[in-house]
Structure formats: C-alpha cells, structure tokens
C-alpha cells in the first residue's frame, strides 16, 4: 500500500514538473511549485521522515510561494518568449541526464540494509544518541548536536540571504511610512479571520520551536511559521501597520542576534574546556548540557530564520509599494 501511494505521488510530482516547464503564466507556475513542494512533503511523510516533510511543507509550500508571488508583483507574470534555438540545450540536457543515469548504475541497490549509508554512522546515532544526548527526537539530536557545525553553516547561509536581499533592494525608510494605506481595507471577513488566526499561528510556532526536542519541528520550521503569521498580518492590514509592530531595523538586529547566539554557545563550550559546539561541557551533567545547548541553538536558529524571512518579505513588499506609488 505504501509503495502504491509512493507511485501515485511520484507520478503527480512528475506531472506537476512537466506542467511547470510548459506553462508560460508564471503565476500558475508559482502555484504549481507550491503543489510540487506539498507533494514532496507527502512523500517524505510516507517515508517516515516527518521532520523533513514539515520543513518542506512550511518552507517550500508556504513561505517560498509567498516570496515568489511578491517577486512576481515586481517582475510581471508572463514569461519572456525565447526565440533562440533549443537544439543545443536539449543536447546538453540529454548528455547530462544520460551521464547521471550511467552514474546511478554503480550505486548500491535501493533500500538494501547492507548499503554503506545504513552501516556507517546511522547505527551509531541510533544506538548511542539516547545515552549521549537523550532526546526522544533523534533527528533533532543529529541536526543540532552531532551535526551542529553544519546547522551553524545553514543558519549563516540563511542570514547571508537576508544580507543579499537587503543589499539589492534596500530597507524601507522612515519617510515612506506615510505612503498610502495598503492591505485589504474592505475585506472585513479576511480581517476578522486574520485577527483570530494570527495569535494561534504564533502559539503554534512557539510550540514547534520548543517541542522540537520531543516531536517533529525545530528552529527552522518555527521561524518560518512565525514569519508566516507576520506576513499574513502585513498582507491583510498593510505594510505600514506591520512596520509599526516589528520594524526592519529591529529584524536586522534579530537576524544577527540568532547567529551570534548559536556561535556563542560554541565559543562558551570552548571556554568551558570542550571543543566548538561540544554541549556536554555546558553543565555538570553531560546529558543536561546537551539539552541546554540544543534548546539555545534551536532558539538562535528560530530567531534568525524568522527575522530573515520577514526581512526578505519586507524588502520585496516595500519595493512593490514604491513601484505602485510611482
């Protein structure tokens, strides 16, 4: 049954991808990308990888759809007609595809328990992480503790994305605040429902943030969900209102604070006599130290991801408003 569901989902995934290639209407393409992410999230659920599915659903289907829609508001919704010949690209793609398929022939058989990936570090994590880290959600142990350095890198990547967007699009200035009212002023239903939902979404984000040690979730998902609540607020009540709730400057401080919090945990564990990001040294009891470390760095990740996502939305949104005023 699980294989049948997998097959159906994969077929739908392929169909969506083909539609994306042939459609010229970019608005529909963005929607299809959302569907694509959601289908892959379902496949991850079917593979019992709920943490990855959660990330894919919140980041892929949620926030990136919104960010791409704001981009479309700046660039226009139809694709430019491509008049160049398609023979050479087709050749390149065919050769690359053939090389990739040739490469996969050497791969170990799919799903075989004797594959190197199942023999090397995975058993070590499964056997030792309950004793060393002691968290029920092993994914969080691997992500935040064993691979803490990688996750620090990912957080820095997210942070640098914000730097890039702000450097390109700029931050909204004070005098722009007097710009005309935006948002859906006449949409009473939307305003009422948004007012009811936003606190619930923020509450859920906090739950995802601090329950990540025990269930699926963690800083990345929580940051994105919290950012979604504020984006909903900005969309319904207008950007100026959202700016008076959380300002762009404050978000920049938050984004750098999250990364610094993460890195300073690493430095503190060095100061305590361990290696960089060795949480066992944070408390007298190594397992308790691991718990402290993971909670703090997840908080750092959450703060950075929230601030970065919201800053990117602000940057695009103010740009759209500016072009509307002209």
């Amino acid at each position: 049954m699980a294989e049948f569901i997998d097959l159906v989902l994969l077929a739908m995934l392929a169909l969506t991808a083909l539609r994306v290639i042939f459609l010229k209407d970019l608005f529909a393409v963005v929607m299809l990308f959302g569907i694509y992410s959601f289908l892959s999230a379902l496949i991850f659920v079917n593979l019992d990888a709920v943490d990855v599915a959660f990330t894919e659903a919140s980041v892929g289907a949620g926030i990136s759809t919104v960010l791409m829609l704001v981009t479309l508001a700046l660039t226009g919704r139809t694709e430019k007609e491509n008049k160049r010949s398609t023979v050479l690209p087709l050749l390149v793609v065919t050769v690359t595809g053939a090389a990739l398929i040739y490469g996969t022939l050497d791969m170990p058989p799919f799903g075989d328990p004797n594959n190197p990936i199942h023999q090397h570090v995975a058993p070590r994590y499964i056997e030792e992480s309950p004793k060393e880290v002691g968290l029920p959600n092993m994914v969080t142990s691997v992500l935040a503790s064993y691979r803490g350095f990688d996750t620090l890198g990912e957080t820095v990547v997210v942070f640098s994305a914000a730097i890039g967007v702000i450097a390109l699009l700029g931050v909204r200035r004070r005098e722009d605040l007097a710009a005309e009212e935006s948002g859906f002023l006449t949409h009473h239903v939307l305003r009422v429902v948004a007012k009811m939902l936003i606190p619930l979404i923020i509450l859920f984000a906090l739950y995802v943030q601090f329950h990540g040690d025990f269930g699926p979730g963690g800083g990345f998902q929580a940051g994105v969900i919290a950012a979604a609540a504020f984006i909903l607020y900005a969309l319904v009540f207008g950007l100026p209102q959202a700016f008076s709730v959380v300002g762009a400057k404050f978000l920049q401080l938050m984004a750098s604070f999250g990364v610094l919090l993460y890195a300073s945990v690493g430095l503190y564990s060095m100061f305590k006599g361990g290696q960089f990001l060795d949480y066992s040294k944070l408390a007298a009891d190594p397992v308790a130290g691991q718990h402290y470390g993971i909670i703090i760095i997840e908080l750092g990740v959450g703060i950075t991801v929230f601030a970065v996502m919201l800053s990117i939305f602000y940057a695009f949104g103010s740009q759209v408003e500016r072009s509307n005023v002209k």
Binding site: H187, V189, L190, V193, M196, L197
Partner: protein, 109 residues
Amino acid sequence: MFILDIVSSLLLIAGVFFGLSGAIGLFKFPDFFTRVHAASVTDSIAAILIIGGLLLQTSFDLNTAKLFFILLFLMLTSPTASHALAKSARHGGLLTLAETNKDKQEQTH
C-alpha cells in the same frame, strides 16, 4: 464501538462523495465563480466530513484533540480562502457567465 464505526464510515463516504463532486465541478462548471463554488465544497464540507469520520476512528486521546484543532482551523480558513478568492476576482473586474452573455447580447443588438 460498532455503531461508531458505521457512523464514521458513513461520514467518510459522504466526505469522499463531496470531494469527488467538487473535483468534477471544478472541471465541468462554465465560469470562475461556479468553479470556486465547486472547489469550496471540497475545501469545506468534504474536509469536515472526512476529519469527522477520522475523529470517530481515534481512541479519544491526543490524536482526537489534534484532529479537532485541524477541523477547527479548516472551518475557519477554507471558507475564508474561497471568499477572498471570489471577492478579489470580483474586485479585479471578472464577470459571471450570465453577465458576460448579457454584455455580448447588448453589443450585438
């Protein structure tokens, strides 16, 4: 427990029926607003019936509470989404099929 199973399967079957009819309507209906109407059937009543059926299949523990919250969330969001969609289409100047036909008739006469 037997009665609960029957009620839950009835709810599930009704949910599947409404889901399918919504999907068929989405393809068959002539203009945007009737299509939104069909899609909102899938969103609202089908989802509510299916989750209601699933609620009766749980053993009344944490999963029941989670499903209940999902139900509540869907009841709030899906009608709002359909409303917002239809309203912004109207705001953008999209006409219903009847109005378009009337316009055409007036132009030809």
